[in-house]
Amino acid sequence: MDQRPVSAAPQKGPPSWKLAPPHDTLTQGMVVSGFVSLPTGRALFLEFAWDGVQKKDGGAWLKAVQDVAPITDADGKDARAAGIGLTWEGMRKMGLDASTLASFDRPFKEGMFQEDRLRRLGDRREDEWLSTVIPGGPKWSGNTPTDDKWCGMADAHAFDDLEKVVETQVKTPITVHALLLLYEKDEETAEAWCRTVGDALAPHQVKIVHGLPLDLRPDPRGIAREHFGFADGVSQPAPFESKVVTVRDGSDYPKDYWNGVPLGEVLMGHENGHHEIALGPVVATSEAGAKAGLLPHPRGEGFLDLGLDGSYMVVRELKQDVAAFWNSMDAASARINRRDPEHSGHITADWIASRVIGRDLDGNLLCPNSKTGVLPVDKYDQPDNDFLFYDRDKLGHGCPLGSHVRRGNPRDGLAPKPSDKQTLLDAANNHRILRRGRKYGPDILDKRVDDGKERGLLFICLNTDITRQFEFVQQTWMLNPNFAFLYDEVDPLLGPKGMLTIPEKPLRRIIEVDTFVQMAGGEYFFLPSMPAIRYLASL
């Protein structure tokens, strides 16, 4: 159980956080852990190949899963682990009742591929997929149906001559209703386990329509690298809540000054960063619900809390083009060397790549006025994550303002004046996501030569308010062309071909970067709590 990045070796990090009883047995294990000790993984994308909605036994397949791959809870380390997420349409097909389905959060109900949402996430605009999506459009999504009553079928009334706009249903070839994540020690056992799961699902007409082999192999220092070669997942939010989030000896996990977020940012039913109880779905009180262990809802009389200790899981399959990345870095450094022969001795592809990310290959933050050019490692020999931007590097002379890490979490860096630092840090921490992604596909032999193989990152993050957390990060920070007073440039890593400003004295450099990362599929999933899984299995 570690709050540290999935890449950090647990024994080396600072004291990690855990959930106190009873929440530890109510929560899925992947909330508190990245399962670092289980380097192999599988993502199985499931489709319910049923016609229409199941009248009964919609949860039978989930019972079958529980038999062969019991979903891991958060009360300690297991020999192998599993996690599960469900789409809105998946639960509808399982026969969850309409009022429960209506009680989920709006973005989840509409799905990631609602056309206005795709525009905000930078995937699609005016019926065209953008260059940050794989050619031909994404392979998979939940294919959440557009709700007819929202798109022009409103009941007719007198004196109505408004033109009705029919919303476009964005569809992908593969429909995903549930995502099953399996974590194992090695490749062979994982493969065998997948077969077992497949066999168990087959009788229920639940098909594995897409699968990705996941991979997490930290080096001896505990650094795991994504395909471009950078240490991944270095900075994570650290949840806190008195008596619920604790350290090993049972005392409260202290609020981390730099990265602390209220538990409600990660788990429903707890207080969140906006001083409210993070909203979750509810079901009407029933025997099945009580048997599954759902607790009464604190506000809705006659209802059980289906959300408590659950979360929303954002999944995006991001295909990485490693050769394009490094070739683009080469081209950029060559151009700088040609355009500025006198002051460019130190500029190499690695130098530029670090500016794109904001950290060096080992995950150390770039900073000005340092001999090594980076922030020294912390006392656990890990990349230091307890830092702020304003005082050290306001103008981005070390870590560029538009670099991936600064866009991902600007901390106090957007403060206009010193007295606003704390406000901005607090504000930034209201938009954090807990990342649980892993890379997929084989490592590349020569990072400058394309071998034609599929590889990338299965981006997974947990949050309770998708709009305020994941979507905010993506839209207002990552893909905001005016982030941090920049102009006409977006995240150099995730965004389309464009510019990156590298502040420098006396004059900034602006380099051109290509498209390296393309979305191949994505959806919002409900990450149910353990009782919620039992309830859904009882449908």
């Binding site: 525009r119 905000r120 005016e126 109505d160 408004l162 001083h275 901005l424 905001n480 062309p481 005016n482």
Partner: protein, 541 residues
């Protein structure tokens, strides 16, 4: 340069509500598929209505009232020429929209007939002028920047980018070997031929007269407020010996303070930790406050002494002396009056009904989403009912007036707290001051805009909006309130309508970018810069 923010709110014939909405949609589609402005299909708007920065046309559906058609406009100069330009650009369309509105029952009826009758051809500008509302509070993010200046300075910015990128295209970039000062000189020489205006002195953004006006209005307001608050003391001190008056003040004050202490805490479950503290605020503003009080004394003595000499036939010395003493006794009563008002307010606040789950119409929400996030700017318009009661009424009007005057002084740089994301925003009261309307043209997304308020400027926002029916529970006008993030956001969405027609004259420019362009232009207007100034200036390039 004077800039105007105003709105025109007109009641709509309910039968014509949908038709009006579709007229607005058509107007937008006629000009552009997405709600952006600046070039392409909007180009004629850009040349035909050169005064306008941002403009919106929207209809609020009717729940408590009949639907309301609102024209919101933010432009350079006086309203007259703007209306003339607008009429020449979309006069026929506007006229057919006005035909969907109700004939006013007051004296404007004939004027309405003359423009809305079938085949009416009289100019509509006078009617719009007549029905214009003055905002109770408004805010300009780039104060004093005319539209043409914003566009011209942005062109300059783009020219500098091209020059810095393309100079000596095949060989080494000449700029990389220069000192800051030389970079400035070379860049200026390179762009100067295309930007002859660099030789002209920059127009003042806030002319002296406007500056003085801002201060005079604020000072007069506070002096008047001090006077009003001391009126009870002035009367009481005449009615009783000073010892008794003093005892009375102390006793009442202590009584109120004790009561306040008891009910001043937040209601269970509504408290939100905030850095805002009344004591800190009070002490930080103590010096200006004392200055204002002194100013009040001077003004009041200057007016009061001759009057009292006339009335009582005292000589100047006695009159002057007596006047000062009397006014000071009046002032002594002011804190007690304030405490009393706060107590009264708190009693009301505790009984206020806040709406925990405001209903949000999914159809409206989808219509809003369909129009949002096409460009870096967005627009919102909201309409809420105002809470009843005489104290509320006084506090809203005085509070808005004060907030508006303070913003003119405090927010000249465009910053509200730590954020500068608003281009033009305003509040105005409609329906005989029973509803409060809010419009904003802001940068980034609606979510980030509201989050900014929730996280960075909740006190000011709560002050301006807590008078709205259903607003999250509030303490002392500024505390808690908007900090209830999700509840506040739902409340705001609930009050909003679809921005069916929205125009921006510079769709790619954030308020920050406009200021950045301004700084770059200011630097380039200067023939030379010192190395130190140039090094600072270069950070913006």
């Amino acid at each position: 340069m004077r800039q105007t923010t105003l709105s025109v709110a007109l009641e709509v014939k309910p039968e014509s509500y949908d038709h009006l909405s579709s007229l607005l949609d058509k107007l937008r589609e006629k000009r552009s598929a997405d709600p952006s402005g600046g070039t392409g299909p909007f180009a004629d708007f850009l040349t035909r209505v050169p005064a306008v920065h941002f403009m919106s046309l929207s209809v609020y559906p009717g729940f408590d009232y009949d639907p309301l058609f609102v024209i919101e406009a933010n432009f350079d100069g006086a309203p007259g020429p703007f209306w003339g330009q607008l009429e020449s650009a979309i006069g026929p369309e506007l006229r057919s929209m006005l035909r969907c509105c109700k004939r006013p029952l007051d004296n404007d009826g004939p004027l309405f007939d003359s423009i809305a009758a079938p085949d009416a051809r009289a100019p509509i500008a006078p009617y719009l002028e007549r029905r214009s509302l003055t905002p109770t509070v408004f805010h300009h993010g780039n104060r004093g920047m005319t539209r043409d200046r914003i566009l011209a300075e942005h062109k300059l910015f783009e020219a500098t980018r091209v020059e810095l990128r393309c100079a000596n295209h095949e060989g080494p970039n000449p700029y990389r070997v220069l000192t800051p000062r030389q970079i400035h000189a070379k860049l200026r020489a390179a762009v100067h031929p295309d930007f002859a205006w660099l030789d002209q002195p920059p127009p003042t953004r806030i002319p002296l007269a406007e500056n003085i006006g801002d201060w005079v209005r604020l000072i007069s307001f506070i002096v008047a407020a001090v006077f009003v608050l001391s009126i009870p003391g002035l009367f009481l001190s005449l009615a009783m010996p000073w010892e008794r008056y003093l005892i009375l003040l102390v006793v009442v004050f202590i009584g109120i303070a004790m009561l306040l202490k008891r009910i001043g805490v937040a209601l269970p479950g509504t408290e939100i930790a905030t850095k805002f503290s009344f004591l800190k605020f009070f002490f930080s503003q103590l010096v200006p406050l004392l200055l204002f009080v002194a100013g009040y004394l001077v003004v009041a003595v200057a007016i009061g002494t001759p009057l009292s000499m006339l009335a009582t036939a005292r000589n100047f010395d006695a009159a002057w002396h007596g006047m000062v003493t009397w006014l000071l006794w009046g002032l002594a009563g002011a804190p007690v009056v304030i405490a009393g008002i706060v107590l009264w307010l708190r009693v009301i606040e505790r009984r206020d009904a806040s709406q925990d789950a405001p209903p949000v119409d999914p159809v409206m929400l989808r219509e809003m989403a369909r129009r949002e996030d096409w460009i870096p700017q967005n627009h919102m318009g909201s309409l809420v009912l105002i809470k009843p009661g005489i104290l509320r009424m006084i506090l809203i009007r005085a509070g808005h007036r004060l907030l508006g005057l303070v913003l003119r002084i405090q927010a000249r740089s465009g910053y509200l707290g730590s954020m500068r994301t608003i281009h033009f925003a305003h509040w105005a009261m409609v329906n005989n001051k029973s509803r409060l309307m809010f419009f904003s043209n802001f940068d980034q997304t609606w979510e980030s805009y509201l989050d900014d308020f929730i996280e960075k400027a909740h006190a000011g926002l709560t002050l301006a909006w807590c008078c709205g029916v259903g607003f999250p529970p509030t303490r002392f006008l500024v505390k808690d309130g908007a900090s209830h993030g999700r509840q506040f956001k739902e409340w705001a969405r609930h009050s909003m309508t679809v921005s069916r027609f929205w125009y921006s004259a510079y769709k790619d420019l954030t308020a920050e970018q406009i200021e950045r362009n301004f700084r770059i232009a200011i630097g380039l207007r200067k023939r030379t810069l010192s190395d130190k100034d140039a090094a600072l200036w270069i950070n913006d390039l």
